[in-house]
Amino acid sequence: MIQESVCMEQSDADLIAAVLRGDPASFEPLVVKYSPRVFATARRYARRESEVEDIVQEVWSKAFQKLSGYRGEAPFEHWLMRMAVRTCYDFLREHQRSRESSFTDLTDPEHDWLEQFVRAPAEAREDADAARKLVERLLAMLSPSARLVITLLEIEDRPVKEIAALTGWSAALVKVRAFRARAELRKCLRRIAKEKYL
């Protein structure tokens, strides 16, 4: 397993060295190999597919332009994912004015799921499509930093140290922002309860 991983790293390193020597075509295998992860990350923060594609294109453009700055100390994937997370954060900040601010336009399945939760919380299924849509709505209401922290910490279960490395924030700042993000999340949930059931 370790041997295989070393071989893969060497392969990435060879491709990167070739690109830096002036062979841009060697960048294509890296795009093919890592695009699924970048797409999955971008889809956490953007809903429309056109926005997701814009984010991923931006990530690869930045990666290509800054490739000479990659020192090879960490795996290429880590370096790329750091770039992807920061690009997603920039996207959230650019689009924060269009954040959803109301739960009044819930679809029928979403409304039914909430009703089900109120009646019998244990019976409201977590794998239901309506639950996933509700989470998307909830996250869309958060500020960019709150959404990023909640996604990385609570949904992706990443440790604080890793979040600090991904975002470029200090560990202390991640903890402070996580505290504020949870409070913001709770405030949004309180609004659901107020708008729908009071």
Partner: protein, 99 residues
Amino acid sequence: MNLTELQNKLLAAARRNPPDSQVPYAFEKRIMARLAAAPKPSEWLAWTRALWFGAAACVAVAVLASVWPVQPTDDDDDSFSAGVEQNILASVDDFDNVW
């Protein structure tokens, strides 16, 4: 409504439904075409930028250097210059006394 439970339930729902990692068809071709079409950074442009930064820094230093001597100091300039003059001419005064 139990908000803590609702929060836990919704976060669990998000964990159970990870986003799709599907890549659109021939996406890598699109990326490579975009990278090939992107304008390459010109060497002259980099030099021009660097020289402008250098020029701005030089102007800042020149302005600071011209403003600094104008500022009044706490030292008494008359006593300082008189002291310098006295020290330099001390030997000449002694020479006068010898004659």
